[in-house]
Symmetry: C2
Subunit: 271 residues, 2 copies
């Protein structure tokens, strides 16, 4: 079985999604479906460039991003995206997007990858949408509107269910401090899906345990979606999470069911 | 959003599945759907008994298993299942089943849980079926028939993509020895789904890194499915993996793309 054997379904877009976000996500999932039909695992994962974020761009990332930027250009809005960086269309509106969150999953055929975007008007996020590419499930929120989901409300780290980025040598101590206190630890390797699961209360928190891997595009949708559902998003070191065309900036994001849990998790990671 | 908000779809059963397996999986997914409509997270996760495997039975496990055993009784076959243990119907055929693999995921609403079963005739596994409850995706194999999927073929641990059970204090050293050598580590908390992803080549291996958590029902489907696709299933300590009505027996299963990778992974875990 190759990654192309399972279809990429149409996203199940909720009513009222802004046309820019809706078109971008539809274009992205169609491009992912086509890419998985046209290329094998090695072809999807092949490095074709170095992105604006300073990391290698896989072919599958490039193909999906190309479809998204074309959709944004039809709407004449700016784009801030992982590989191409900032594309200025002279608009007040910017589409901030992680074209394919969990690209390694998507290339290998692990069915955990998302297209997650936010719309910013003059620098302020007004709407966010995360779509799980492998199932079509979507999570949507507009600034000021109550979303249709709620976090678990958990306040304490001891006994919590926590998703983490995979451990690396440089943050092994912090990773274990969290893993020891949590009742459950998961590593799904898809930051946007893990943030959506925090937003809907399926898990209590998700964190980069101090490896400074997160870029703003990994967290942009969560910044609106999770606080609207009762949770909090912050950086372990207290750095402000801000939309910035410089995609080489890095954070260690903490996405949690409550502000109290976010603070306790960040403190545990700092040690 | 509650766990009941996302539907549990009908399983996409391949042609030719044995009616006992097909009916058991259909009954299980229908029962899971109903359970998630009827109960909230706390209700689904509530301990209602101690199972034949010696661990607490959640309400959601009990409800799904009840539906499966009723289906098996209609077919007058024996059942070997996590909570009820061995139900002898005097048949040569035994349905060996993990009613709900990834129960904690299922109760919380993390969309990674499976129904995985094997048919054994006079103690030999003849057919296996794993269905991912949240999407309806199924993996099926019959003894002697080539399955429609193939492992990645990877032979070396260094640089492999490895799924692991979550680390515990008692196996932290072994867990970390594997995580250091792997290029990617995931923890999906659903052994049967992780084994299916090894079988279709989306990931290279899945292991219990020496915590002796696996029961035979966690591995029964993989025992047929993974070797048929080119891989191997073994126990870290070399204990024979055998169908046994005593469900308190434990193993540390290693499911890998090749026999070479399985052996190297087991050796790394032993240290």
């Amino acid at each position: 079985m190759t990654p192309g054997s399972w279809p990429v379904p149409e996203p199940m877009l909720p009513a009222g999604v802004h046309p820019v976000l809706a078109d971008a996500v539809r274009a992205a999932t169609a491009a992912l479906h086509a890419a998985r039909r046209a290329h094998d695992r090695a072809g999807l994962a092949e490095t074709v460039a170095i992105g604006a974020d300073g990391t290698p761009t896989m072919r599958v990332d490039a193909l999906v991003e190309e479809a998204i930027t074309a959709a944004a250009q039809r709407h004449r809005v700016n784009v801030l995206s992982e590989e191409v960086g900032f594309l200025d269309a002279g608009s007040a509106v910017t589409l901030v997007i992680d074209p394919l969150d969990g690209s390694a999953n998507a290339a290998a055929g692990v069915p955990l990858s998302c297209v997650a975007g936010a719309l910013a008007v003059d620098g302020t996020v007004t709407e966010a949408l995360t779509c799980w590419a492998d199932t079509g499930r979507c999570w949507h929120v507009r600034a000021g509107d109550p979303p249709g989901y709620r976090t678990s409300g958990r306040r304490a780290l001891d006994g919590a269910a926590v998703s983490l980025l995979r451990p690396q040598e440089r943050n092994a101590g912090a990773w274990w401090r969290v893993a020891r206190r949590a009742a459950r630890v998961r590593i799904l390797s898809s930051s946007c899906l893990e943030a959506a699961l925090v937003a809907e209360g399926a898990t209590d928190a998700f964190a980069d345990a101090g490896s400074d891997t997160h870029r703003i595009v990994d967290l942009a949708a969560a910044l609106l979606m999770v606080p609207a559902a009762g949770g909090a998003v912050l950086d372990v070191a207290g750095r402000p999470l801000e939309l910035d065309p410089d995609l080489t900036r890095r954070w260690s994001g903490v996405v949690a069911a409550t502000p109290a849990l976010a603070a306790e998790l960040a403190a545990a990671i700092r040690g």
